[in-house]
Each structure stands twice: as structure tokens, then as C-alpha cells.
Amino acid sequence: MVQVRCGENGEPAAFVLGQTTYGPLWVEDAWSYREPWWQTDGGGRRQIYRVRSKAGHLFDLCKMPEGDWRISRLFD
């Protein structure tokens, strides 16, 4: 779980990981992924944002179908 603050356009503007706040964020790419609809518990939509922090680090932030955020991938 990660705390994400979104801008007016609904995209991540900053996030807090542990004691550190990363932001402002530059959205390099954004896409969504649909979970398997044919499975009993499937069908949700994940929204993924590839963001670059002010310090130049790359993160993949994933908004889960339930609405909570995760860092699904980290580049350094």
C-alpha cells in the first residue's frame, strides 16, 4: 500500500513511501490492464502509471480495482 495524491486530471502527482514523499511526478506513460473476466473473482481493471520523480527515479504506480495503490515496479 502506498499513499498517492492525484492532480486535477486524476493522475498521480505525488506519493508517500515510508517517510519519504516523492513529487511532483511526471507521467511518462499510463495504461490499464483488465484482469481475467472468465475467472470467478476476475474482471477488475488495474490502472498503471509510469512516473518519474523530481529526482529522476522511475516508478510504476498501480491503482488496484478496489481503489488502493501499490508500487508494482521500481526502476532506479
Binding site: 486530471n9 486524476g10 493522475e11 507521467v27 511518462e28 506513460d29 499510463a30 495504461w31 490499464s32 490492464y33 483488465r34 481475467p36 473476466w37 472468465w38 474482471g43 481493471r45 490502472q47 498503471i48
Partner: protein, 1020 residues
Amino acid sequence: MATHLHLHGPFSHLDGASSAAKLAARAASLGQKALAITDHNSLSGIGEFAKACAQSGVRPIIGAEVTVANPSGAPCHLTLLAPDQTGYRHLSQLISAAHLERPRGQPMASQEALAAHAPYLIGLSGCRRGEVASHLLAGRWNQAEEAASRLMGLFGRGRFFLEQEVCRLPGDRPLQRATRDLGQRLRLKRVATSNVHYADAPDFWLHDLLTCIQTRSRVDDLAPGRPMNDWQFVQSEADMVRGLSDDPDAVAMTDRVADMCEMALPDASQQFPAFPLPPGVSSARTYLRQLTEQGATWRYGQIGSRLRQRIDEELSVIDQTQFTDYMLAVAEIAGWARKTKIRTSGRGSAADSVVAYCLGLTDIDALARDLPFARFLSLGRTDPPDVDLDFDADRREEVAAHVVQRYGQDHVAAVATYVRLEGRMAIREIGKALGLPAAELDAIAKRIPYYVGADGLRDALSRVPELRQMKVETGRIETLLQAAERLADWPRHLGTHLGGLVVTACPVAEVMPLQMAAKGTVLGQFDKRDCEAFGLIKIDLLHLRTLSAVDEAITVSQVPWETIPDDDPSTFRRLRRAETVGAFQLESPAQRALHRRMKGDRLEDVIAATALIRPGPIKGDMVAPFVRRRLGKEAVTYPAPGLEDVLGRTYGVVVYQEQVLEIAVRVAGFTPAEADRLRRTMSRARSKAEMQSLGDVFCARAAERGVERKAAEEIWQTLLGYASYGFAEGHAAAFGLIGYRTLYLLEHHSAVWYAALLNHQPMGYYPPQTLITEARRRGIQVRLPDVNRSEPTWTIQDGALSCGLLQVRGMGTKEAELVLANRPYRTVWDLVEKSRLLPAALRQLVLAGALDGLVPNRRQALWQVEGQAAMADLADFTPERRLSQEMAALGLAVSAHPLSFFRAQLEQAGVLRTDQALCAPHRMQVAVAGVLVRPHRPPTRSGERVVFLCLEDERGLCDVTVPEAVYRQDADAIFGPDAWMVVVEGTVREVGTGASLDAERVMALTAYLNRSSVLEPLGG
């Protein structure tokens, strides 16, 4: 408001998951004013799309996503829109080029074809498979720029746009930025699209499922090409802007592009080619009159005043409706066929025309029968007339080739059929994509009745007994059923119409895209309804195998077909005995049951019978009153005064379509065109509300003419009973005449006729085995093939029906010629040496009994064809094994009937032969054994599931009715995978001069006798 300019509907075949109606409704709900259709290399969907858009108040834009050869890589996609009708013509030609330049591969337009048509079109650079986007995604900036510049040059500045996809896929944002930058550099505008494949996100799963079917993968597989998210729908403007934050102006640009496009549907009206006139003839009208009058003299001897008046009236309507050239064209085709000795016969509503009769298009004298011309053509009718010409099936392609040769390949194309997803196909295809076992799917599909639609599967699974008994996995079956319900009637692929050809004055490709059909003919992308809607005139050149059989039979028997007497007493005696197996249109169990009761003794009875056994008269319960009145057992009454001359010939019962028309004209004052529209609407109407609304109009119009409300309603109820498929009288007369004449051949030249029928299979109601049984029952000897005597086809030798060599599995024309060329053969070695047939063919000949004349012991013969010496002490196969092998080699049981091996045991068990059962007293309890012939479950008005079948044994046929309760109990014996020979216990029911059986139990024969058999069903 955004406009979606890149959209796939159902005619993107497995790449569009929402109906045109749903797509248009979604756009309308978002306030979008226009919507484009851009199916893959196809315009088949534009008719449905335009109609759906009109209903939703959205302006349709016609386009296509065309695959184009890529100078620097894999074929690429380009989104093309037709700004106007000129653009439409070019788009249609470009799609045709894409298909016809690669008749066997995936369609792909060349750069040259694109260059020729692009100036008349609006181009969008396409999806990720577009040339520009694919370069940008790969980081090939220079090549992207070069491609964009080249395309801009082809389309012209202001008519080519870079496509900004908003599909929320990985790499979207960098691609959008690169596209924006490229556009700014080249001063090229961008337009946003979401590459729509379904109306709204909840339909995503259907698109994914269709993609699995298309890519032959299963939902559990990771297959390339499957969509990863659910954003390819008709998005709102706000969603588009959110997904394209780096280039939001591209969203607004969509409306400006939409404004550049007007509705560009094809208009082929007046496009039928002018008929080339002979020298000295001033006009087509004059020429048609000349030909008609010549024909009238041929048909009638002289032209009396009544005939003259009728011809004048018909020619006037033909002229005013501008079908003169069409009539001349079909007359020329029929005339050419006759000159070329190709047997032809006209049917359909053309038989209501005296002009058609005089031109030799039909053999029905519409004047003598007083048939209304309005059923064929009338002023005010918008649909084209229907001249159905049947040709000898073996030579129909020659006729089509003549049409192509006369009008030019560019002006002729076959009409398409939209092959749609029905019940059995849905089970197999959707089930496979869901990962269900193929064997299980096959077992279910085989048991689904043919008429069950994809949306009727749930009901079928719960109600069809043999399906209910199957243990099917419920989880994914439920998903399958949901998908089938949503995708019912979805266009799966294009097929070729049985005989429809369109002929146009301009090149056909300007009106509809062309592609190659599987058998190598040029196929248009519109089906007959779309052809009609867009003004294309269709000529129906159909093939009728019966005519091929007739041609063969009259050549052999030297019977003059046209002068067969229509009052032959022995032919009518056969009809009354209902011994009609093999007669065209008169052989089905329903027809035979009717003739037993009706006791027909004139051609008119045959014609009426042809029309009576149709859904309209059957569902309208018109058969029984007709028979009672025909026999004088019920008084003849009429639904209203003044209809005696309309319904007199059918004893006051509505049997023919013309009668519906005439009643509407007389009672409610409809014009002929209105009456025909009423007939068409009635036959297509599905809902009670629609029928009620029609009835209200009919009664109101009748009231205006002074008919009392109650009387008008009663008449409407009479017509309502007919509200389903029925025959035009002219059509029934044409078919009835052929039916009667084939019955004459069956009566007087039976062996010749059976041989002709067997040589032109598949045709008729019964399988060839039943014809063999019938021939034998009539005392005709049926012989096995013989390498020293047989011809390639079935022939008559010494009065016997002799099996042809081509009937033997593995024997083709070449093999048969080898056998014939090297006769006679004295030994098996002789045959092997001289014919040089391959061992496989020789083995099949042995098993078929074709070497019995050389070596009666087939086991020994098998050794000899393998090159082994004869072994005197080697015993032959058992008789049952011999028949089993013969059936496998011939597809027929010729030397004996399979039942004969069980007869002794059946007699011991008290089981009757079919001929014994048919002679048994009414209501007697009997058990009868036989081979199942054509068990079927026709849809009934009551919804009750009754099975009709025939039992066939050594002595003939017995018709059996299986009520729903018995069907539920014994479904597996009738429709199960091993269903073949059965014993039916039941009650004899007398029907007129014959009888049938009401089943109370149906059991597999082997189970009934508790014994096994080496015999297997044909084709099993």
C-alpha cells in the same frame, strides 16, 4: 463533442463485439452527432449501420480500415473515410483491389491502388499497425516522417490526419507525444480515435472471446492479438481528453473531420445495363414487345383480345417500373440456355406473368390460370421482380459464365450470404475458446436441432431430452450460453448465395466491394437484402439437381418431357397410393400422408398439394379443411361475399400468396403494391404487436369500404393464419408440374428414374439407401458393381439397376476409365496387371463386390489383389461381415438390407415388417423394426416437441410419429450417437388409404434383441 472515426462493427468478423444498433445508441447517448464505421477491408456492414444510425439520430460516416502493402515492412492498416459518393466508389474499388490482388491470402491493397484512389478519400494514419505508428513505436523517426509525408502527398494536405489512439495501452503516452511532435513538424493535424471494437466497457469480454475464436486460442492462453484492457469502446469526449492530455486538440479535430464527410451510401438505382438491341430496333420497349408477341404466337397460336389486353397491361407496368432491360436480359439467358441444350425451368412469382410465359421464362400459363400479375410486379412497388431460373445443376456454371462473357467480368458478381452464428456453430466455436473439451462440444452440437439459434441454446439444453441427459460442466457452459445469447446471428463470414448474380452498367466494384469466393468466383460483399436496399438488381440463376436427373432420364428413356400427358391414370393411382418416393416435391412423409387422404386425380391437386405442405397453410390449419372440402365432406364457404372467384379453385381455403393479395385488394381496397407490402410484412413480422398493428390497418381500410368490423376481423383472422411462409400459385404450379412429371417417370420408367436419381445425389428427401430399397420393393433387380460390366455411373443393364464404379470409395473418373479401357478381365491377376489400379482402389473394389464375377470368395480375392496366390481352403467372410464391408466401400447396402440379418429373430419376437404393420387394423398394437430415416423435430406452433421419422426395412417405409413423452423417454435411441436400427412399439393409425404408426416406445434393435452385430450405420 467527439466523433468516433475508427470503429469496428460485427462485419469486422470476429473483431467487433457490439451490434450496429448498440454502437449508434451509445454514441447518441453521449450526444455525439456522427459516427463512422471502419470494418476491416469490408463494407458489408454499412446497410445495418446506416439503418441503426438513422434510428438513433446519428449521422453515419462510411469508411473502412484497409490493409495496405508497406514498402518497408509488414502490411499496415490505414483508416479511410468516404467524404461523398465519389469517395465511396473509390473506397469500394480500393477494397476490391485489396481482395482481388490477393485472392488466396489476406487482403492487401498495393501502394499503386492506394495512390489511384487516395485523392478521393480522407485518410487517417491508422492504429499501431499503421505505417506511421509502427515506425514511431520502434523509434524510427525518419522513416515515420517519410511515411507521413508520402501519405500526405497521396491524400492531399487537409485530407490526411495522424491518428492519436486513446486506448490506454503501454507506450500510449510516448506514442502520443511522438505523433504530436511529428504532426507539428509536418504541419499535419491529428485526430483522436479509440479504435472502437464494442459500444461500452462491459462488452469487452465478448470482444476478447471473439478474438480467441479468431486467433484459435483459449481464454486461458496468453495469445498475441488479444486485448489487454477494456478501453476500445465509444468513449465520451471527457474520457478522450483525459487519455490524450498531451494533445487534447486532436479530440476536437474529430468533429471537423466528421463535418468533411456527408452520408455516402451506394446508389445503384438505374444501374442495370441497357440491353444491346439488334440492328433496326429502336428501343428496348419495342424489342420486348416484339419478343413477347413472337412468344405469344408460339404459346397460344394466335393473340386474342384477352391475351392482347393482358400483354399490354404487363408491358406497360414493366416499362413504367423500368424493368424492360432486366426482362430482356433474363429472356436472353433462358433462350441461350435452351439453345445450348441446358435444361431450364422458371419459377417464383415470374410464373404470374404472361410476358414471362411468352418469353419462355416459365412454363405456366398465367392467363389460363388467371394469375395476378401484381404478385410479380406492380406500379408503386419498390422491390425488384423475382425471376428464378432453375438450370440443370451440372451445367449451371456454364450459364453463369455466359452472363460474365456477355456483360464483362467487371460488371457481374455473385451475391453474398452473411453466414451467421447459429446454435451448433456457437457451441463449437465459443466452447472451444472457453477451453471446453472438443469431444464434449461435438456431442452437444450434434444433438442440437438444426433450427435452434445461438440464443435458443439455453432452452434447448433444458428441453431437448437427449441433451438433458448429458452431464455437462455447468460453470463455463453458463458463460458459453451468455456469450451465445449476446452473439446470436452474429455475422461469422461471407458465403455465396445459391444462384444470385448482380449485373451492373458501371463496374460492380464501384457499388460494392468484391472478393474471391472459395470456389473461385467473384463475390460481392452485399447479401440479397443489401443489394435490394441499394438498388442492385439480382438475377437468380439457380441449380436444380432434379433437372439434371430429368435430363438424364429422358435421354435414356426417350420420353418427350414437355408432352408428358397430365392426366395419366396410372400416375394418379400411384399418387393416391402415396408411393411417391423419388418424385420431386411429392415424396416427404407429410406429402404422402396428404395424398393418401386427398385422393388426387388431376394436376391441379398436385399443384395444391405442393403449396399446402408449407409453414403458412400448415400453421394456419388449412390442410384439413382443404382435404375435407376437396372430398365433399364439408361445405365450401368463403370468408366474405365476392371472394368466390378468388378462392373457388381451393374450396374457399387460402392456399396461395396471390389469394392474400387479392383479398386485401377486394376487401380493404389496398392497391396491388400495398397488398404486396402487406404480404411481405406479414411473412416477416415477428411480434404480436406488429401483427396487431397490421390487422388494425386492414380492418380500418375495410370499414372505409363498408365492411362490418366483425366481418373484417374474421377475414383478417383467416389471413393471419397464413402469416408465414407460403407459395405463390405460379411457383406451386411450376413445381407441381415438375413433380407430376417426375412421378410419371417413376411410374413408367422407374429403373431409369432411380438410376438418374442415384447419379445426382445428394438430392430429394431420402438417402440413396431408401431409393435402393424402394427400387427393390418394386421388383427391380439391383446389382453390385462389376469390373467387367459396370459403367462409371448407375445404369440399366438387362432391366436391372446396376451400380456404377464411381460409387466405390476411392474410385475416381481416372480409375473408372482405367477399368473400362482394359476390359475384359478373366482373373484378378488380369485386372491387377492390365488396369494398374493402386492396391487401395483394388481392395475397395473387392469389398464392394465388384470382383465377385472373377472370384466369388472376397477373402481370397483380397489376398490375390495383394499379390498372393489363391488359397483354395480360405473361407469367405460371413454374409453379415460381407455386407458390412460392402456398406463401407459403397456407402450403400446393395446386395441385402441390413435388417435381413435380424429377420428370423425379429419374427420369433413377433416384430412385424413395415408392410405387415401398414396392413394391420386401425389402433392395433404392433412392434416394427427398421433403419431410422430422417428423424426430425420440426418447430411446432404449440411448442410441443414431436419427432417424425420413417422406418425402412426390406419391404419399404413406415412413417412414425413420436409424441413428446416418448421422445423424452427414448431420445437416445433416436438421436444418440449410435442411433440406427430400432424397434418401435406403437399403435397403427389409418390415414386415408394408408397407415402410420404412433410410437409408444423406441429401442435400439440390438438392445431389443439382446445381440451384437458387426454392421454399422452408413457414414458412421
